[in-house]
């Protein structure tokens, strides 16, 4: 029971990270119908940026944890958003309206570029450090196996909830959100009605990248490590989460993220650690084959 509870907490923490990244996939796919293959690597870049700023702040003597976290959060989100914007501008916008495979190939190219860019710039070694927010709350102290709820996990849950509330508000209540939903339904019609489609899509990428940056910072705090290859597998799992939740749906992405996180952690805990990624990928295949609309997605009607 205690073991189960511990796995549940760990699974939800991992799932929150997947959920945050999945929102970026789901929003982009919803609007331009393209898998932003480089999104996982944008997440990786954000962990690198966070790490550099963290080291910089410590080296100039700012060591108060809340101040450090706030500065990193703002700076990393801003810089990662800039990366998201640039990637869209360079690799995707020139291909808008082109044939279907072109943006996907260009996205794969961009993903390779970002990975190797980070590897060459920051080195291929794993960057590990001790947690900034150590400690946690211990439950069931008298039992054989006590359950830990780490402070970094609490921070992660709070952050995810906060970000979700803000983004749901943006998408449902603001003019930008309205423009995004209009583009999602019909890009051509939206542009005829005076919506700046290019700007809306750019902002969607910026939003996705800033969420990835939040996830990146949280990942760095929670696991205390990153490397240039960190984005690839996490990216695919987050995409799985987006599909599982129903692509195009924000709450679906988070729900899917939590589900994938739980499945992965429980599979690793109860079945086999070696094959936990196989489990995640199999779920991706199974969901796409048997439940293509996902948990909260709308069924796609095909007109001939």
């Amino acid at each position: 029971m205690e073991y189960f509870l511990q796995q549940l907490i760990n699974g939800l923490a991992l799932g929150s990270i997947y959920g945050l990244i999945a929102i970026g996939y789901t929003m982009v796919y919803g609007i331009i119908g393209m898998i932003n293959f480089a999104h996982g690597d944008i997440f990786m870049i954000s962990t690198m940026i966070s790490l550099v700023i963290l080291v910089a702040l410590f080296s100039i003597g700012i060591t108060s944890v809340p101040v450090v976290l706030l500065i990193i959060l703002i700076a990393a989100v801003a810089l990662t958003a800039l990366y998201g914007w640039t990637v869209e501008r360079m690799a995707y916008r020139p291909l808008r309206g082109s044939f279907r495979l072109a943006p996907l190939i260009s996205a794969i190219g961009m993903s390779i570029v970002l990975q190797n860019y980070a590897q060459n710039a920051q080195g291929a070694d794993k960057k590990a450090f001790t947690s900034l927010i150590p400690g946690g709350i211990e439950f069931f102290k008298e039992a054989k196996f006590s359950v830990w709820l780490q402070y970094s996990q609490i921070a992660l849950f709070v952050m995810t909830a906060l970000v979700l509330i803000v983004f749901t508000f943006v998408v449902t209540k603001t003019p930008l959100g309205r423009a995004q939903r209009a583009c999602e339904q019909d890009i051509k019609m939206a542009s005829l009605l005076g919506i700046n489609v290019d700007r809306t899509i750019s902002l969607t990428f910026v939003m996705g990248a800033s969420l990835a940056a939040v996830a990146g910072l949280m990942h760095l705090l929670y696991y205390g490590s990153t490397d240039f290859y960190a984005g690839f597998v996490v990216g695919i799992k987050a995409f799985t989460a987006a599909v599982l939740g129903g692509i195009g749906s924000l709450p679906g992405a988070v729900l899917g993220g939590l589900t994938i996180g739980l499945i992965e952690v429980f599979f690793a805990g109860y079945v086999s650690v070696d094959y936990k990624d196989v489990a995640a990928f199999s779920i991706l295949a199974i969901v796409l084959i048997f439940l293509p609309t996902g948990l909260l997605g709308r069924p796609e009607v095909e007109k001939v």
Partner: protein, 471 residues
Amino acid sequence: MTDTVQPAPAAEAPVETPPAKAPHPARALLKDAGLWALLTFALMTPVVGFKTVARGNRYEFDNNMDVVLGFTVLVFLGRILLNLTIWSKPKTATARAASGSVFDSPTAVRLKQFIRPLLILIALSYPFLAIWTSGGMVTGRYWVDLGILVMTYVLLGWGLNIVVGLAGLLDLGYVAFYAVGAYSFALLTMNFGMSFWMCLPLAGIFAAFFGVVLGFPVLRLRGDYLAIVTLAFGEIIRLVLINWREFTGGASGINQIPRPSFFGLEFVNGPGGFADFFGLAFSPVHRLIFFYYVILALAFIVLIVTIRLRRLPIGRAWEAMREDEIACRSLGISIVNTKLTAFALGAMFGGFAGTVFAARQGYISPSDFTFIQSALIVAIVVLGGLGSNLGVVFSALVLIGGVEMLRNLTFIKELFGDGFDPVQYRMLIFGLVMVVIMVWKPRGLISSRTPTIFLKEKKTVTSDMISEGHG
């Protein structure tokens, strides 16, 4: 949206500032270049400028701001230069349609008739040309090796071309079949002592079987979803290869795979060997030349099969399915059979390539079969122009041969100092080439198609007329 298909340099894409509205052309130019330089500076400072290095138990910075500043200046000057030259030309839809591809102009079409036999001739005589021009067996070895590498990717590209180019099914896990072929050969020959020539067809059959196994569940999927499931399939195969240690040797792989022989003649030094039998001086390059011709023969088989299949009902069904699956189904074509044959055939050729790879290396491990390999093969097919066999050859030459050539660019080392190693930036440049070619030519290098059915005369179909398909 339609006026943005423009060439982009390595670092950025154009900003559409209509010159009529700008207050002064020079000022607009400077402003644009300045903004992009600022962007470059902001992007690169945190990631490139300060390299975190662990010293003792804490992180310190290696300052690389000189690189950042260098790139900032480069972007500033580059944008001014590009804005003044390439992007200054008016870009209208008609002008672009008229310009077409360099490979599609009438002279190029005439040239193409000569290119094919010429390429075949070069391919046939390549090992001897390489040894002759580089002056001897020892120096020629590298070039023969490079030839094998490029031919392997041509073979893989042609195999995948059946799945992606003809049937329009985007497969991002093609490397799985390559792996199945390689491991089938390695395990069969290690465990049962079977020869290379017995294993080759068996490995092809195994790979084809895996193709059907993958194809069956994904019959209903299309486009991006199909791509992502095949990617997952490729990763699953790799993870199983890593973790099933008793069977596959785990992450360390299988080594000391026996080398194939030339009709019973081993490539060894001494009596009874290949060199001894033909009265030649022994050289390890003989084996490489043999491999080159094996893979060349396989590639030609694939090519001929592909060309012939396009004229058979099944090939026509593939192309019809690529263009419109629903219309295809309503005309009574079995989508199940059509898709599965495409997957199986493509997988079989991938299996052949894997067998040759394992036999040549003598050593395989799961790290040879990563997603990057799949992406590389897909990139070769798409950048070459979907469905074009000649395009695959060109893009394999550019992507594999060209990037490999970076090793030889010693003058770069002299330019940037000794610490600069271009090989380190191989994949970075490879990714940039992928993006730039896509932005420059979304349809690939050779974007026209020769129709298989025609009335009276054979017209080349330009890329503008090829319908989207549902891939």
